[in-house]
Amino acid sequence: MVDPESEPSGPAAEPEPAVSEPEPSEPEPAPAVPRLRPRSRTASAVSVFGELLITAGLVLGLFVVYSLWWTNVLADREATKQGNEVRDGWADGRGGPGALDIKNGIGFLHVPAMKNGEVLVKKGTDLKSLNNGVAGYYTDPVKSALPSAKQGNFSLAAHRDGHGAKFHNIHKLKTGDAIVFETKDTWYVYKVFKDLPQTSKYNVDVLKPIPKESGKKKPGRYLTLTTCTPLYTSDYRYIVWAELERTEKVDENRTKPDELR
């Protein structure tokens, strides 16, 4: 119907009047442009409401960007800084199993199956601390044992998403996987023996020195990882238990144990 030759002229010709339109001072053939008719009150209200909805959508979208990206940027930066401080402290001869450097973190968690490098571990699980991209060991509601303790449960928490997302890949951990905790003088090599993919956030029993749900009945040197699940929400908690397999002295070159090579 329409000659293809004439088509390019159509869209090309149209912008011309559109550009000159914003100049309100120009005398216009008023009735020809219906857009300039004063809009009814209802139409204006609907229009503002629509724009508010669009704005709300954009803000929510930005919140997702903030949660899943920007907090990671900030947390990784802060965690790297704090981790370097701890390593510098170790190099200067501070810290160690006898005199744990509580304020600056007690060591680093290496979980090869999570593929996220090393995670600094500090005391306490308050949000302010965890938001710096570190893992915290519990002081409340059940006090965590330290890895150097003869027996007990070394219980840790970290974020699943945002703020470093240090335990993001916790679901990739399988029975037998290694979890290595590095202090100034010692590598603590743990092996995963049980996971609990979903439990109530009030289930503090998982932190007990002998966590019964893991199937253990006797005291031992256990490690508990906790984080939120399902991904991107925190309705429930994901738990992974591991047991100490052996310890290795850290040598001069800080040679990593076999599990990390």
């Binding site: 724009e51 930005l62 919140f63 949660s67 915290g136 928490a157 699943r160 906790t226 929400t233 908690r237």
Partner: protein
């Protein structure tokens, strides 16, 4: 709303576009720097710890 803001910006189309962009970036900055950090602990997306009844970690 946005039309009203646009009409009240000074200058020609280019100046208005630049001012509008700066305003939009300022809004994003305020959201990321102040509003979202305030809102985040209130929203139930990031709790990672188990906790006794009642207490928020």
């Amino acid at each position: 709303m946005y039309g009203w803001i646009w009409r009240h910006l000074p200058g020609n189309v280019w100046v208005r576009a630049v001012v509008a962009l700066v305003l939009a970036l300022a809004v994003v900055f305020v959201l990321f720097q102040y509003v979202f950090p305030w809102a985040e602990p209130i929203l139930p997306f990031g709790d990672a710890t188990v906790t006794g009844a009642g207490g928020r970690p």
